[in-house]
Symmetry: C2
Subunit: 312 residues, 2 copies
């Protein structure tokens, strides 16, 4: 018998991992969204509750990231049931941490469980991309794929969609820093222009190779040498107060890499040693930002036991 209600945690994600512009992301342990999905006799998909968004997210199910993909999922699986979604934003919006992706991945994952799990996590990616489409205008996969699959994920192709998980035995602590400034995704995209030099491409490709081989051969020094971005970081870091200073500080504190998360303003830094990450965070306490000290999340969206009141 199918379940009546499912509650999931859906993680924030770091996209544009330095040399992996637009194609490479990883999931983190926190922050993230809590999404509760409940079966209903009344057909259709409804957003019945949103918290933590300051009232800015749309409540219409076709426009909300958490439900747009669920509508498509019910259509494609010919499901006549209704699904009601509660969305609890436990993470900042528009901060470069994949907020809409967390909602989108959480919504389709929870709905899929209610339907008896007809689709795999990989198959859910294209549905979660619908959530990105309504929230961001582009159905990109580099946040929803790691949110669903966990770990490090590359988007090989969109046509057809082909997403590749990067196996690694390395474990990382991740210090996320969300400065108290806003960066508009549209502006962050425009500043890049539409062209790059062939030389930039070659440098970025070399580092991408190093990052992937480093992850897959468990060589954290190679990973460290490869977390380099010559395309987006030089143009976007100006919007992040004291970026260069902060990055230098983090690298001196033992981070193996540091770069802009998504299109910013959040910054991620990876550590192989949790204590170093803790000390680094301590030293930044006067910085006007929110901090999350977390791990790379290898599981992706995960179901939560217990009542939602206990969780929230």
């Amino acid at each position: 018998m199918n379940r009546q209600t499912v509650t999931v945690f859906s993680p924030a994600t770091v996209a544009n991992i330095a040399c992996g512009f637009d194609i490479l992301g990883f999931a983190v342990g926190e922050p993230g969204d809590i999404v509760k999905a409940t079966l209903s006799d009344e057909p259709g998909v409804r957003v019945v509750k949103i918290t933590g968004d300051g009232g800015v997210l749309p409540t219409g199910s076709e426009k909300n990231a958490a439900t747009a993909g669920v509508i498509k999922l019910l259509n494609d699986t010919n499901s006549k049931v209704g699904i009601e979604i509660e969305l609890h934003k436990k993470m900042p919006l528009g901060s470069g941490l994949g907020s809409s992706a967390a909602s989108a991945a959480g919504g389709v994952y929870a709905a899929n469980v209610l339907l008896g799990s007809p689709l795999s996590r990989s198959e859910l990616i294209s549905y979660a991309m619908e959530g990105e489409r309504v929230a961001c205008g582009t159905a990109h996969a580099d946040n929803v794929a790691p949110a669903l699959l966990g770990g490090f994920v590359a988007v090989r192709s969109y046509n057809p969609l082909d997403v590749v998980r990067i196996p690694t035995e390395l474990t990382f602590s991740c210090l996320l820093i969300k400065p108290h400034v806003e960066v508009m995704t549209k502006e962050a995209r425009q500043v890049l222009g539409t062209e790059i030099s062939l030389e930039q491409h070659v440098i970025q490709s070399g580092n991408l190779s190093g990052l992937l081989v480093g992850l897959m051969t468990n060589d954290s020094e190679l990973v460290s040498r490869s977390i380099v971005d010559v395309i987006a970081e030089p143009k976007r870091s100006k919007w992040i107060p004291h970026y260069d200073e902060m990055k230098n500080y983090l690298m001196n504190q033992g981070a193996i890499g540091c770069c802009i998360s998504g299109s910013g303003p959040s910054v991620f830094s990876l550590f192989t040693d949790r204590e170093k990450a803790e000390r680094a965070q301590e030293g930044l306490k006067d910085f006007e930002a929110d901090f999350y000290l977390t791990d790379v999340n290898t599981n992706g969206v995960s179901e939560i036991e217990g009542s939602i009141d206990e969780i929230l």
Copy 2:
């Protein structure tokens, strides 16, 4: 006691592996160069014999790819000995198969053995790059590195030089096709221009990720889907007679990938099944080209036993 003479086989290499423009190459089992190095009491490095080059290669040791790196090697190791080099070109020049790299890698490898192997294969890369510098004007590493190390190799960075071997358990047969046309490396570079679109970069990066993950997870289907080039192939294939037709034919014959080798005009195609490669070659026999049916060479430059007269 050090050896008096060393003879090596130094392999041809395929650079620009589709999505790995300027950074990714692999070595093959044939063709290649035979390089013989002999210790001499008279200090300095001399080219004492060249065969198979049609008389076009320079005989001055500072200008010959096989010896330029050897001069630097003797200087850097403070070696007062002399070294005489015989270079036997057993492969076509200027065909996109890494001819100068084969000479350069073979020369420094053989000389290093004569010196008692003070340097590792990885350490020899920068010396072999000197050979590329005198032969091509640019000290690029994407042919000499796979020639020295064998297998698939990525150049992460030039400053500092950082070269990464891509481990894989996949074994490939490689059909190399050298059409009877000439492509000038300089022109092949110019046709690319100096800029690409950000979209091309993203597509190429996605495929590069797929290729590397495919190799390292031994997923030949992922490798196959990822052997895609949206930067160089569209602009360079026009110089290769019947390129599209030939590529379609090879893919239909079971090749898992096919693209231009280096800057052409040679074409490489990879097969996981040797018999399919043999049948594919058979079907191309009316094509005006030289063919090499070989394997990806996982060893790189290798020493040859026996006298050079027997070998040649």
